[in-house]
């Protein structure tokens, strides 16, 4: 990742963290997409050489701290998701936006399941199907997120070529 691309990545990840904690009205809280995971997926997909699992792990730990969750819960989910994106990034990049969105849905589902599993072990798993809503909203928003992120990357950074 070039210096300018690094700028774009840190900016978007910062904004993703902001969106993750920005206050929403009560009815919308369960629908909030997992912004940080989406941003990490984008960067792991487009510049996998530098956005690796270690960065994902750090972002996951920060997510844990901001959620007041047990340390490592989101980190574990994010590491596994980014690992999959990482080894499959070439296939993902040539897929259409719709196909990507479907894959993203299952990736987000995987992360949510890991989070649910850990909360279950710790003893406070949420008992509602709304828990999986972020996967749906995340997948639905993916085409727009992808396009916006690509524009940000082109404007601020310089698209990686290979």
């Amino acid at each position: 990742m070039r210096a300018s691309n690094f700028k774009a990545a840190s900016l978007t990840i910062f904004v993703a963290f902001m969106l993750a904690i920005i206050p929403l009205p009560d009815w919308a809280i369960e629908f909030r997409p997992d912004w940080v995971t989406l941003a990490m997926i984008y960067w792991a997909m487009t510049s996998p050489a530098k956005t690796g699992v270690t960065l994902a792990w750090m972002a996951g730990l920060m997510l844990d701290v901001s959620h007041g969750a047990i340390l490592g819960q989101n980190a574990l989910g994010l590491v596994l998701v980014i690992y999959i994106v990482h080894i499959q990034h070439q296939r993902l990049r040539v897929a259409s936006l719709l196909q990507q969105a479907i894959v993203i849905f299952f990736l987000l589902l995987l992360k949510q399941l890991i989070v649910l599993w850990v909360s279950g072990i710790v003893g406070h798993a949420p008992h509602t199907w709304l828990f999986f809503m972020p996967c749906v909203t995340g997948a639905l928003l993916w085409p727009w997120i992808y396009i916006i992120m690509r524009d940000i990357q082109r404007k601020i950074g310089y698209s990686t070529t290979y």
Binding site: M18, L24, V53, G68, I70, G72, Q73, Y162
Partner: protein, 313 residues
């Protein structure tokens, strides 16, 4: 230089190491709760994000204060003065009562009630996990906030601190599913434990027998058992009693008195066990005292695990 194919095995190896690390971290955090330093360090990184998110709301309040008309301010000032006068009058009576209480306690040679210390903290306007009832406060370790510290608002007990960061701290509300607070019915003195339900509008009172003397409208106050919450703070009022004779215990619901989802300012309470030592004055004695306070906090967390947090099962 970038190659077409990334070094596969290295990534896999790193992934496996990180997964193992995550599992170790989770176990350590859940079992021993000794990862405060890690949390603290990460919270420094997170602080700018929280600051930026909270900024518009703070600006709004700032604007409201600074741009409001002279007339409104005067009116508000007059109103507050009236209220203060009223409170003063009530306090005078309370003062006498307190003195009398102290005398009576001395006569009974009971342990004297020690005064508590308070500090106002503001709730940072950020959303935390939608399925937990956590709030973020703008006072942290710098002000001597400690883990397990009770927080109250103008109406009653709100919750307790669960994570202390440098600049902020995270508190669990009494309505969280894994929270429980020892309470007592004001009218009869019957002791119970109020469990959080995950809903902000009611708590669950468990293990109350059928013949217990309780009524709808009874006020619940903190009993001080468990030595985490100070005694005699209002907690909730009983709103529903379901006497199903088939069940072993009565199903009792109580509505928290504190405004759990609308309060903006809360009070941090230092109880007698944790005297408030101001870290601003830095002398050796202070530091020793601080360490002693920290040590006793650690102890109380280990000694009273059944009291509050993790009572979900």
């Amino acid at each position: 230089m970038q190659t077409l194919f990334l070094r596969g095995p290295a990534v896999t190896l790193r992934m496996i190491i990180l997964v193992i690390l995550s599992i170790i971290l989770m176990t350590a955090d859940h079992r021993w709760q000794h990862l405060d330093t890690v949390r603290n360090t990460l919270s420094y990184l997170l602080y700018p994000v929280e600051y930026v998110v909270d900024l518009p709301i703070r600006l709004y309040y700032w604007g409201q204060e600074n741009l409001s008309a002279h007339q409104t301010l005067l009116q508000e000032n007059q109103h507050l003065k009236d209220m203060q006068l009223q409170s003063r009058v009530q306090l005078q009576k309370l003062d006498i009562l307190e003195k009398e209480n102290e005398r009576l306690r001395q006569l009974l040679s009971a342990t004297p009630k020690t005064p508590e210390d308070h500090l106002i903290a503001e709730i940072v306007a950020v959303d935390v996990d939608p399925y937990r009832h956590f709030i973020v406060l703008n006072k942290g370790a710098k002000y001597g906030v400690y883990r397990g510290q009770p927080i109250i608002d103008a109406h009653g007990v709100m919750g307790q601190i669960v994570y202390v960061n440098a600049m902020t701290s995270t508190a669990m509300l009494i309505s969280d599913v894994s929270h429980a607070i020892p309470v007592q019915i004001d009218r009869t003195g019957l002791r119970s434990v109020a469990f959080g339900t995950g809903q902000t509008d009611y708590l669950d009172l468990r293990h109350i027998p059928h013949n217990a003397d309780i009524q709808v409208g009874d006020k619940l106050i903190s009993s001080g058992l468990g030595e985490r919450f100070p005694r005699n703070y209002p907690v909730a009022t009983i709103t529903r009693i379901d006497r199903d004779t088939g069940e072993t215990f009565v199903d009792v619901r109580a509505e928290p008195l504190a405004q759990l989802d609308t309060s903006r300012e809360v009070l941090l309470v230092w109880t007698q066990r944790h005297q408030h030592s101001t870290p601003e004055i830095e002398s050796v004695d202070e530091e020793i005292e601080q360490q002693a306070v920290e040590a006793s906090t650690e102890e109380s967390v280990e000694q009273a695990p059944e009291e509050a947090v993790d009572a979900s099962e």
